[in-house]
Symmetry: C2
Subunit: 260 residues, 2 copies
């Protein structure tokens, strides 16, 4: 299978750098093809702007969505964007690996999402009707592919548990796992998280590699997070609120998963 | 009072650009001093890297936190970072204004947070003991200042309500409001959100200005979101989980607000 690893850490000799090297080796040893988008090494342009469309004319009012749509359909996207989209088309699975900085992904990776996720590619696709509100949340051009986060954080696991002060890790990651990955169609696997990075010695690193290696070996069989599909009848359209008879009276992020 | 407006939209003639101009006028008319950090216009460097410390030596292993701490204490931060910190010290209130891109702030603004929020400035401050886990979440160098988000999104309000498919807007914004603003000490005011931006005509814009103008007029008296302070006795330290006798059995993001 083909795996795209999008890696967002500035230091190759960091814990994240070592984990990245381990993952590539492990997956290649298992016979997979791996491509790495090492965003810092590539000096990835993080900032979405009018230059992302090479046909953009001077003096126009810049509309990010419209510019993206025109560039995508007219083949005038800047080369770095088109190249990453090609990698996504090629991939059967995508891994986003990053340190949690201020409770989200590093800016360089956020900018990868913003620029590569073009209108017509990752959003703005599919019919809009009173039964179907675009191909998104479980449908879309990336449907059939799998995605997983590999995240490190200095905080303790308890700080991110159900009652931890930082918020439950799955809630903190919801905008990424549901909003960035499930939205264009990915099946999203549970994340692999390493906590308390300041204390990761050789033993802890070896243990992390064991766990992560197992996660990689099971990449194709692991049950994805059971996010509800938008157009499967669970949501009222166009309000896109969960039907009143499903988990009545409940709210919050977890209602957007099927009850198992 | 002094207000810092951090603005993250690439197009001055956009809805966001017009709102920004309106806000500056309204606040200046009320006698406030306003500084605007217009990140796109400033060509803000979005990517945190070793160059953020001008004393950084070639060949060293780059540790983002350590590099930030050394630069902060040795006065070797790059000038753009020091300048933004000075604006934050000057400000009585900070407004972050941005379009919601992929359920979070644009990369350029995330990179502003990552680079300006130095170790020793926005984190890594205060004593660590079994009663006090650093000055954070309600304490810190930015305590006593107010902060507010002004956010636009193409989606409908119902898509972001308690049962909306995107997740409740306050949950989506929790990593920013709690994790980025409350963490270093800000009192966080309820956000001002404009939904369905594609449909904002002249009337809707006038209405938004009325509402937002009122929010600005009340910036100094509006009740902040009642996030629980970390070191006030509500959390077990060092686990930093909410005490078992507070909202027993409950979980999720909303438990981190005081019951009113």
């Amino acid at each position: 299978m083909n795996v795209l690893l999008v890696f967002a850490h500035p230091e190759p000799k960091s814990l994240n750098g070592s984990l990245k090297d381990f993952m590539v080796q492990r997956m290649e040893k298992s016979g997979h093809q791996v491509q790495v988008s090492d965003l810092y090494a590539m000096q990835w342009k993080a900032v979405l702007d009018a230059n992302d469309n090479i046909a953009k004319q001077e003096g126009e009012r810049f509309d990010p969505s419209q510019n993206s749509q025109q560039a995508f359909y007219n083949n005038t996207q800047s080369a770095d964007i088109a190249c990453e989209q090609e990698k996504l088309r090629w991939a059967d699975a995508v891994i986003l690996q990053f340190p949690l900085w201020w409770f989200s992904m590093p800016a360089i990776l956020k900018g990868w999402v913003e620029r590569v996720y073009a209108y017509g590619f990752a959003y703005g696709v599919g019919e809009h009707s009173d039964k179907h509100w675009g191909n998104r949340y479980g449908e879309g051009n990336l449907a059939g592919k799998r995605a997983m986060l590999v995240v490190t954080t200095g905080g303790w696991e308890s700080h991110y548990n159900a009652r931890g002060i930082n918020g439950p890790i799955n809630d903190i990651l919801f905008p990424i796992q549901h909003g960035i990955l499930f939205y264009p169609g990915f099946d999203v696997l549970p994340p692999y998280i390493i906590y308390r990075t300041g204390r990761v010695d050789e033993d802890a690193f070896a243990q992390a590699c064991d766990e992560l290696g197992e996660r990689l070996d099971n990449l194709w069989v692991t049950q994805p997070i059971a996010f509800r599909k938008q157009n499967n009848g669970d949501y009222d359209i166009p309000a896109l609120t969960l039907r009143a008879d499903i988990l009545p009276g409940q709210s919050g992020l977890s209602i957007h998963e099927y009850e198992i």
